[in-house]
């Protein structure tokens, strides 16, 4: 079965510092991978997605992620964090349901705190 592991429950970085959030997935075929962000009291917003092609994917708000098949990883990065990036971040992998339709399996999330 597909699964997603986000090993860091909580990360604190200083404003202006670089950021890397880890994501490891388990999936037999080429995965569809996503990163979402959730600000307090809000729904989830898509940051970026990987379906195929270039393994370095650019997203919104200055985020990028790199797909590494050999490591089954899809880590999210940002070179310089802003205070407004404080939120919870979710990695997700697409999966095929019994009907042949796709749904998502989410990781447990990483909460990012940004220090001034």
């Amino acid at each position: 079965a597909q699964s997603v592991t986000q090993p860091d429950i909580h990360i604190t970085v200083s404003e202006g510092a670089s950021l890397e959030l880890r994501c490891n997935y388990s999936y037999g075929a080429t995965p569809y991978l996503f990163w979402y962000v959730q600000s307090p009291g809000q729904g989830l917003q898509l940051l970026l997605k990987y379906f195929s092609g270039d393994t370095l994917v650019q997203g919104i708000k200055g985020f990028e992620a790199e797909f590494k098949r050999s490591q089954s990883s899809f880590n999210l990065r940002k070179p310089s964090v802003h205070w407004s990036d404080a939120a919870e971040y979710f990695c997700a992998v697409g999966r095929i349901m019994d009907t042949g339709r796709r749904a998502l399996t989410f990781g447990s999330g990483t909460r990012l705190q940004v220090q001034p």
């Binding site: 997603v4 986000q6 429950i9 569809y32 996503f34 979402y36 009291g41 809000q42 729904g43 989830l44 917003q45 898509l46 997605k49 379906f51 979710f90 697409g94 349901m97 019994d98 009907t99 042949g100 339709r101 796709r102 749904a103 998502l104 399996t105 989410f106 990781g107 447990s108 999330g109």
Partner: protein, 113 residues
């Protein structure tokens, strides 16, 4: 922009009540999803629907049912609410066969007393 609207931000109900959570999307998406979000567990899929009157169980369907009578509306039903169903519930929609990213509502925080 796609808009997914959940009818209530906060809801308080009593044990044993039948509870309806409503979700409406305005982009003619084929697929709609209901998730439950709990701290440390991420989002878990309860049910999804890929067409009117069509549904498929997700990972935690027990105690829940769904209804999709119109394409834009997807309802989650707690047949007899229990305290362990206190949670944040998120609705999402996506087009096509589900390959495309999902668009989420702002969530309903449900408390069962």
């Amino acid at each position: 922009d796609v808009k997914v609207t959940q009818s209530s931000r906060y809801l308080v109900k009593r044990t044993g009540e039948k509870v309806f959570l409503e979700c409406v999307q305005d982009m003619d998406h084929e697929n709609m999803f209901w998730y439950r979000q709990d701290p440390g567990l991420g989002l878990r899929l309860i049910y999804f629907s890929y067409d009117v009157k069509m549904k498929e169980k997700g990972d935690i369907p027990e105690g829940y049912s769904v209804s999709r009578e119109k394409k834009e509306r997807f309802s989650l039903i707690l047949e007899s609410a229990s305290t362990n169903q206190t949670s944040m519930y998120l609705c999402a929609s996506s087009p096509g066969t589900g390959d495309q990213p999902q668009h989420f509502g702002d969530g309903t925080r449900l408390s069962i007393l």
